[in-house]
């Protein structure tokens, strides 16, 4: 199974959570609200480009609004392969963290 970086996990979860309205700004806000980290739009688009190449997400052109200076939005949706890979990746994290004793484990 393909390994996902933390940002890729966040992006796939955001795309899944915002379906069908996941585009650059909404994805960035979603991740910022939930994790406190604000990935740049450049890293979001670069990672989504990579994920699309691997077949984990699909993109489609959206509407152009006045506030965007007439530029169209690009909406992203997760594919079945992407959903499966994300699930496997999160399962691996769960398996690693399962049964950990947090107290007294620090140096």
């Amino acid at each position: 199974v393909e390994q996902l970086t933390t940002l890729e996990q966040h992006l796939l979860l955001a795309v899944l959570g915002l379906h069908p309205k996941a585009y650059g700004v909404s994805i960035q806000d979603h991740i910022k609200d939930r994790t406190g980290r604000e990935p740049s739009l450049g890293s979001i688009y670069a990672s989504l480009d990579r994920l699309e190449e691997k077949g984990f997400v699909k993109s489609r052109q959206g509407e152009a609004t006045a506030e965007r200076g007439g530029k169209r939005k690009m909406y992203f949706t997760i594919t079945a392969l992407g959903r499966h890979t994300l699930h496997e990746s999160l399962q691996a994290i769960n398996a690693l963290s399962h049964g950990l004793r947090w107290k007294g484990a620090t140096a």
Partner: protein, 169 residues
């Protein structure tokens, strides 16, 4: 009252009425129609840009700015030898737009610049035009890095493919 004074007073009242009317019109346009439509709307009501008077332009622009929180820059232009007035909405920095557009992956440029523009309009409302422009540049700088890395990665990948193919020919 002398004739000149009367004319002066009439001109002042005329300017006041025009400015007030267009102020209300601009505020209405800003509140109801939003950012992009206001230009077309003001044109439709007052005629082509060259036919809008200074008073009308300033009135509409100020009203629009009050309603939307966006700066509307008014300026004077010479067209066909006549001094007329025009207006423009605060625009995002063109060079920043250009940089992002050039460095974006294929068919992603429009979407990326659109996202930055959307945030710029929100920033204009929240912080004013000058700070919004600084934030636009800051976002652009943060955006360019990952895009450059992605582009470099693609070049290296294709370079490796070409090198492998060359070994066989």
């Amino acid at each position: 009252m002398s004739k000149n004074r009367r004319y002066l007073r009439l001109a002042f009242v005329n300017l006041l009425v025009t400015s007030t009317t267009t102020f209300v019109a601009g505020a209405f346009a800003g509140a109801v129609f939003g950012v992009a439509t206001v230009g077309a709307w003001v044109h439709a009501v007052f005629g082509l840009p060259s036919t809008i008077s200074d008073g009308e332009t300033v009135g509409a622009a100020t009203g629009f700015a009050v309603a939307t929180g966006l700066t509307v820059r008014t300026y004077r232009i010479y067209r066909l030898g006549t001094l007329t007035s025009a207006y423009a909405l605060a625009e995002p920095p063109k060079w920043a737009e250009f940089l992002v557009m050039v460095l974006s992956p294929a068919n992603r440029g429009d979407a990326l610049v659109g996202d930055l523009n959307e945030q710029y309009v929100d920033d204009c409302r929240a912080f004013g035009e000058a700070r919004a422009k600084r934030r636009y540049w800051a976002r652009t700088v943060r955006t360019i890095g990952p895009l450059l890395l992605r582009a470099a990665g693609k070049i290296v990948k294709w370079g490796a493919v070409v090198a492998v193919v060359r070994r066989f020919f």
